[in-house]
């Protein structure tokens, strides 16, 4: 009986802590999150540029350029993560972006500024300049770091590895 129980536990453990499954789940979650976050910014670039300006972090000449590039960078990273292409590099960029977001929101909390942060659509519970948002961003940052540490390959799919390089770096 104990043997069967131990076997079942080890099977469950193997399923949940299997490297491939963990990488897959992290990729899909982080990828979908970034795609979701990018869509409303792409649809309303003018509104997004005004939100960036409210942060009072970037110089005025960099506001519109950031509003043009950032949403597409998020979308592109999200798509690449879902497809399993350049996973480690996407995870690094994602870490960088999340660190910037955490610092920006934290900076505004310290300065006492409270406005819609622009990360997700305005009616979303994750939107706002508050500690919950920072905590979630830290959690997502840890997930991105974990993904970077787990994924040792450039491509998550065997056929992509074969397609892009003869000698894989597994």
């Amino acid at each position: 009986m104990i043997k069967i129980l131990k076997g079942t536990i080890s099977k469950i453990k193997n399923i949940f802590f299997h490297r491939g499954i963990s990488i897959f789940l992290l990729r899909i979650f982080l990828g979908l999150m970034f795609v979701y976050a990018s869509i409303h910014k792409i649809n309303n670039p003018v509104d997004f540029s005004q939100i960036i300006a409210k942060y009072e972090i970037l110089p005025f000449w960099a506001i519109n350029i950031t509003a043009i590039i950032l949403p597409w960078l998020e979308l592109w990273i999200g798509i690449l993560l879902i497809m399993g292409i350049f996973v480690r590099s996407c995870a690094i960029i994602q870490c960088g972006l999340l660190v910037v977001f955490i610092l920006s929101i934290g900076f505004n909390i310290v300065r006492g500024l409270d406005f819609y942060c622009g990360c997700f659509p305005e009616d979303n519970i994750f939107s706002g300049t508050n500690y919950l948002h920072i905590t979630l961003n830290i959690f997502w940052l840890l997930m991105a770091i974990l993904l970077f540490m787990l994924e040792r390959r450039r491509f998550s799919h065997r056929f992509l590895m074969l397609l892009f390089s003869k000698k894989t770096d597994v």
Partner: protein
């Protein structure tokens, strides 16, 4: 585990370049595109004066308006002596309040810039569209 940083860096550059390219291309193709530099910064229909020059000028012969174009909370914290708050976000209201019956040749001095927002240039641009010709923007430098 050895991380091949050169490959990672190369991929990061590729991802960034593609994202920048797609971003600019999509912006060019869309109807409500965002200009790289705001239109009020491009149109230079006003003079500029440094804050030191302005303080000297103010002591000698001054007539006209000094507008602080920032939002009210910024104006409350600090503002130039004798300036009045003219938040550019409420342009129509403050225009009718201060300038409804004022000649378009009246000297207008505008102050109010933050790191990310050019309230002064926006107000100068909007007043120039109304026909005011004697507009001077007071710069920090």
């Amino acid at each position: 585990m050895t991380i091949k940083w050169k490959k990672v860096a190369f991929d990061v550059i590729i991802i960034m370049v593609v994202a920048i390219f797609i971003g600019f291309l999509a912006n060019e193709l869309r109807a409500n595109k965002v200009s790289l530099v705001p239109s009020h910064i491009k149109s230079l229909q006003y003079q500029t004066i440094s804050i030191n020059e302005f303080s000297q000028f103010q002591h000698t012969n001054f007539s006209g308006f000094i507008f602080d174009a920032r939002p009210h909370n910024y104006y409350e914290k600090n503002h130039l002596p004798n300036s009045v708050n003219f938040p550019v976000s409420e342009f129509d209201f403050f225009y009718s309040l201060y300038l409804a019956n004022v000649s378009i040749d009246t000297p207008i001095f505008i102050y109010g810039r933050t790191l990310s927002q050019t309230y002064d240039l926006e107000l100068a641009h909007r007043l120039s569209l109304k026909g005011y010709r004697n507009i001077t923007v007071i710069s920090e430098a």
